[in-house]
Amino acid sequence: MEDPLVQLTGATVYFGADAALDGVDFRLFPGEVHSLIGENGAGKSTLIKALTGALPLSAGRIELDGRQVRFSSPREAQLAGIRAVYQEIDLLPNLSVAENIALGSESHRWGVIDWARMRDRAREVLRDLGLDIDPASLLGQHSVAVQQLIAIARAISTDVRVLVLDEPTSSLDQGECAELFRVIRDLRERGVAVVFISHFLDQVYEVCDRVTVLRDGKLVGEYLTRELLRIDLVQAMLGRSVEDLRTRSRLRVAEEGAEPFLCARSVSVGTGIREADVDLVEGEVLGVAGLLGSGRTELARAITGIDRLDAGIIRIQGGTDAIDGPRSAISLGVVYSSENRRTEGIIGDLSVAENITLAVQAERGIVRRIAPARQRELALSWMEALDIRPRDPDRPAGTLSGGNQQKVLLARLLALAPRLIVLDEPTRGIDVGAKVEVQNLVSELADNGLSVMFISAELEEVLRVGTRVAIVQGGRIVDTVSCDELTPAELTALVAQPGEPT
């Protein structure tokens, strides 16, 4: 076998006294797609940040082409042909799509940035990813999924030797994933080494040649994908038997014909969602399925008072109280968990305890402060319940791994004891174990009378947790079907929009 393109030996990264990465060896060959696998907080993102110069190594060495290198910034790594798309998208919302893609590698002509060429180049890479958007549009106005694709477009718009993708598919739907995989295979043909981090094992098996498994910052092993059984992979990841991961079945099914808890009629917000009718009974889990940009998130935001309605009414328990902004929604027991964890969820510099108790505190008001001791106690009980790791309520929430941040958000909303919780991609970026835990939690909550609206790009998941599923297309709810009657394949077909470009 040829020599590795990149080799990490004994890579160690400390945050304070804890090792996030502890003596890990990792190698990457040209022309391979290599997956990094591990639970939330296993150290995957840390490893690739160390590799690309975004974090300094406390110990260990990096070799590129057999020569030791040291990158003190991602920029230096880029110059050596290593590009990364980090888990938390690092694009600039105020710039145009083309500018974002060209950032750091602007084309110059006679010392002046060549805008026309930049836009053409941007359009080209975007089209390569199957994305047809105006390169001159502002980045901020696109959905997370599109932004994710744009970040990838930026990484592949220059000549790369190593491409690192940290959970690139977390908000993509099947069609987009397929496009991305086509591009990845293309790059592999051209000898590029690709690191692919994902919690979707299907995808790992689909595109990856080799996997490296991490657990608690340590190396578990390196395997060839085709020689590794999925069950063994999960076992290596979790360090415990897969038996523990059993999905819980619902005990109670919501009664038919009961008075709905939430009743929305002709809800419209701009062109995002039009004339949507939703009924949600107590204890019901309503799945929402739709393609990217179909209006899933718009529906969620309209119902929870985040966006002002242009038309329509929402009635809670047949009452007449209007939902007017997130505060009044919360006071009526309706809460929303955004798909956009970093910009609309986590308050990075505040501690985990403050993050978890923030919503309760906001509801209690300024004067009735939750004492710090009580705050920690409350936070710890939720951290226990949702298994948030590390179990340290005083650490800034922004330093948790992506999956654990997601759980902190869930804890924040559940601490409000809501009546209806609207979850927009709640399992995005969560590892297999935690995903099952969240799904089980949802059905447990529903058994206890909570209504849930569950949005996910993963259709199997929607079917698994949902009682009924609302199918959204082009801003309209086109159908609502009982989940028992559907297979994932059928749902996929229903969701796809016939005739119109997707």
Binding site: R70, I330, E354, Q361, R369
Partner: protein, 349 residues
């Protein structure tokens, strides 16, 4: 590194102590405190007394900055409140009456509160960028002050007013009590209620806070009200000090010194986490520095340069980046328990 060295107030405190030490060595009289008629006098006491206006303004600025804002209008608000107070006292039949002075102070501070609310309205409700919103009042405020005083520098003779800045209580300057009261009030408001953490949440991530049900508007508006009100009190102290309402000189450039004090105290201009104790130390650093300049007899032409130089020094001392570089250059150890394997410093790439 021990724990207290990593405390975020460590470097500001070190800077302040160092500044005082340098002064004490250069002129031992600096740390001397004498007692005359049961009242304390000395350079240090003067610093505490003279820092009162900046202290008030900087405390308000801290809260505003925590919400991701900035208040450029504080100096102009000081001018307005001074003008209002002096005009009332000047116009009354008995300028030496305690009641008159109290009324004048209350009215002028209320006017400042309204001005703060105006800023808050522009920022929180109309969502105008703070720098622009407060610039309006910064530019217009002094004009308003001039209108109030009819274009003159109003002077008064009023012992109760003079007492505010120059009087003593229990042997200490009365102005110091105002500072301490303001610090205590802010600390209680922010840290004994949930206001502090909610303010930080709004400053760190406004959209996430809104979705969580935090009343961001109210919190932002409140911050500007506090800033305006405190600037109003500062304006009264200032005019009590010179016993005049000088629309142009009152609080001149104080917005910049206040911002500097906040930053020296370790609060980031990008909003979010803030430190009241840090701001207090920042103010004391600035005031000590000004007293140093006076004492060293630095000519008034050179003093801004000197001031800037020391500020740069203090900021550099507090910069984590400088810290890292210095540690690398001196080969200092890192504070984690990792075995010091070759970290590749000697490597050529």
């Amino acid at each position: 590194m021990t724990r207290w060295m990593r405390h975020r107030l460590f470097l500001p405190v070190v800077s302040l102590v160092a500044l005082i030490l340098v002064n004490a060595i250069a002129r031992p009289r600096f740390v001397q405190i004498t007692v005359r008629d049961g009242e304390l006098y000395g350079a240090l006491i003067d610093i505490l007394r003279n820092s009162a206006p900046l202290m008030l303004v900087a405390l308000g600025m801290t809260v505003v900055i925590a919400t991701r804002g900035i208040d450029l209008s504080v100096g102009a608000v000081m001018a307005v409140s001074g003008a209002v107070a002096l005009t009332i006292i000047d116009g009354s039949s008995d300028p030496g009456n305690v009641g008159t002075v109290l009324v004048a102070i209350v009215v002028s501070v209320l006017v400042a509160l309204v001005l703060g609310a105006w800023n808050g309205f522009l920022v929180a409700v109309l969502e105008i960028q703070p720098i622009i919103a407060t610039l309006v009042l910064m530019l217009a405020g002094r004009g308003v002050a001039l209108l109030i005083t009819d274009g003159f520098i109003t002077t008064v003779t009023s012992p109760p007013l003079k007492y505010v800045a120059s009087g003593h209580l229990l042997g200490l300057p009365f102005a110091l009590f105002i500072s301490v009261a303001a610090i205590a009030l802010i600390a209680l408001m922010e840290r004994r209620t949930a206001l502090g953490v909610l303010t930080e949440a709004v400053g760190i991530n406004p959209e996430a806070s809104r979705l969580t049900g935090v009343r961001s508007r109210g919190i932002i508006l409140g911050a500007y009200v506090v800033s305006g009100t405190f600037a109003g009190v500062a304006g009264v102290i200032y005019s009590s000090n010179i016993m005049a309402a000088d629309a142009n000189a009152a609080g001149e450039l104080i917005e910049l010194y206040a911002i500097l004090a906040v930053v020296l105290g370790g609060t980031s201009l990008t909003g979010g986490k803030f430190s009241i104790a840090g701001t207090v130390i920042g103010v004391l650093i600035i005031q000590t520095l000004q007293s140093t300049i006076l004492f060293l007899g630095v000519s008034s032409a050179e003093s801004p340069v000197f001031f800037a130089f020391v500020v740069i020094l203090v900021v550099l001392i507090q910069s984590p980046r400088v810290y890292q570089v210095a540690r690398r250059m001196t080969g200092g150890r890192r504070h984690h328990p990792a075995p010091e394997v070759t970290t590749g410093v000697e490597v050529t790439s």
